[in-house]
Amino acid sequence: MTDDESLRRDLRALAEAAPTDRALARSLVAGRIRRRDRARRLGQALTTLAVVVAVVLAVVVAAGGSPGSAGRVRVPTGRLTTTTTTTTTTATTIAPAPSSTTTTAAPSPVVPTTLSTAPAPTTVPTTTASTLPAPFGIETPAMTLAVDCRGTTTAWNNTTTCVVAGSPAGMPPGPPPSTPPPNCDRAAVSVEVHPTASGHQVTVTGDLLNSAGGNCLVTGYAWFPPTDPLLGSDCGPAVEITASGHPGTGVLAEADSPGCATTPYLATPGYPIEASGFTWTAPPGDYQATLVWPDEGQSVPVAFTVAG
């Protein structure tokens, strides 16, 4: 056996020592794909309706009316309301048509497994006291929640979920700087703990939405243009979540290049932008999960404790 062959054999033996859980990986990747597809469909719906708005306004103006006289306009694909101000700014609020929202349960390209990720934080019951968010515009400190799941669950299938929601710390008072649509100004971070024989499995996920009940957008950002030699430029995520004690990053799919901001992600009432989570086995201790939407420079940290 040559040195090369020996090295190949030894490397493979060393690599085999690394445990992998393909079923769990498939489930996690499938979750990212589902969330990305849903956000992208909503973003496309917004783009389409924005074009419709422009066409309708152009027709109204061409017919001798004014944009302000357009009032309420109904289009077949959704409910759309336009209001105007004395300036050139136009606030647009769009509720997606049912056909848009019913496509969110698209079949996953990866076979889901029973090791699925946590349900959406907005639908799971809150098992500990949550800190309610202050009204938007009021400066709030970073949200902190102590999660002590000790003794509450004992089986694999039982889940303890702790949810905290809040506005980002340090957000300046007053209306969001850019309209329309409103900024995403409220985040919910979910921490789910599965007690297992080998320790606590912790899953963190995040939601991002507009506290006033309207739509909001986030976009990706230029990420690592020179370091993807096979693909060229790329864009960073619109929303991501990290946790101390885990090296990974849960990411809502990155925007398309070029431009990065050309495919924004849209949150509508009841359909927040979700940062797909990740799961790891966490030793007892104090942790912090942070939901970040880099394009806006905002983040919401949530502290939690995994009991021994």
């Binding site: 498939r26 996690l28 885990h246």
Partner: protein, 161 residues
């Protein structure tokens, strides 16, 4: 999307394990591989048409792993690779051999380690390794030659490298 599922099943374990050696962190390697496979899905038409999509997967996973590693370098939880060795026949001998190899690999400069893993473990041709590392093929050959010397191997001329 049977083709994507087949791609996933064929390459997840191999990629994650190769990255575990490069990054010396099992959890980080798995996270990076999952992110790379997710990106593969978002560009599947393009990736699947590549001559060697698995090479693309390695490269993207490596880039993601590097980035996550930098970001989380002070918050590692995965543990080094040798800690995850399982039990079984010849366990002590296996662990001893792995520790020795892991120590030698860890002593390599990062570029040499990447080249070794991509060339010897991922079985990428020198051209793909060069693209992955963003350098010329000659540089890859020189890097592999240096790695061989550092690993205590005979540095003989080979037709491929």
């Amino acid at each position: 999307m049977e083709a994507y599922q087949a791609f996933f099943d064929a390459h997840y374990d191999r990629t994650a394990r190769a990255l575990a050696i490069v990054l010396d962190d099992v959890d980080l390697a798995q996270e990076a591989t999952q992110e790379a496979l997710f990106r593969a899905w978002t560009r599947w038409a393009r990736v699947s048409a590549m001559e060697r999509p698995e090479a693309w997967l390695y490269v993207v996973a490596l880039n993601v792993g590097r980035r996550l590693g930098r970001r989380q370098s002070r918050a590692r939880s995965g543990g080094p690779l040798e800690d995850r060795a399982g039990d079984g026949p010849g366990f002590e001998q296996q662990v001893e051999g792995r520790l020795a190899l892991a120590d030698r690999l860890r002593a390599l400069p990062p570029r040499q380690l990447e080249a070794v893993v991509l060339y010897y473990l991922a079985d990428l041709p020198v051209g793909d390794v060069a693209r992955a590392m963003g350098c010329a093929e000659g540089t890859v050959k020189a890097t592999l030659s240096g790695a061989r010397r550092n690993l205590g191997m005979r540095d003989i001329e080979r037709s491929g490298t």
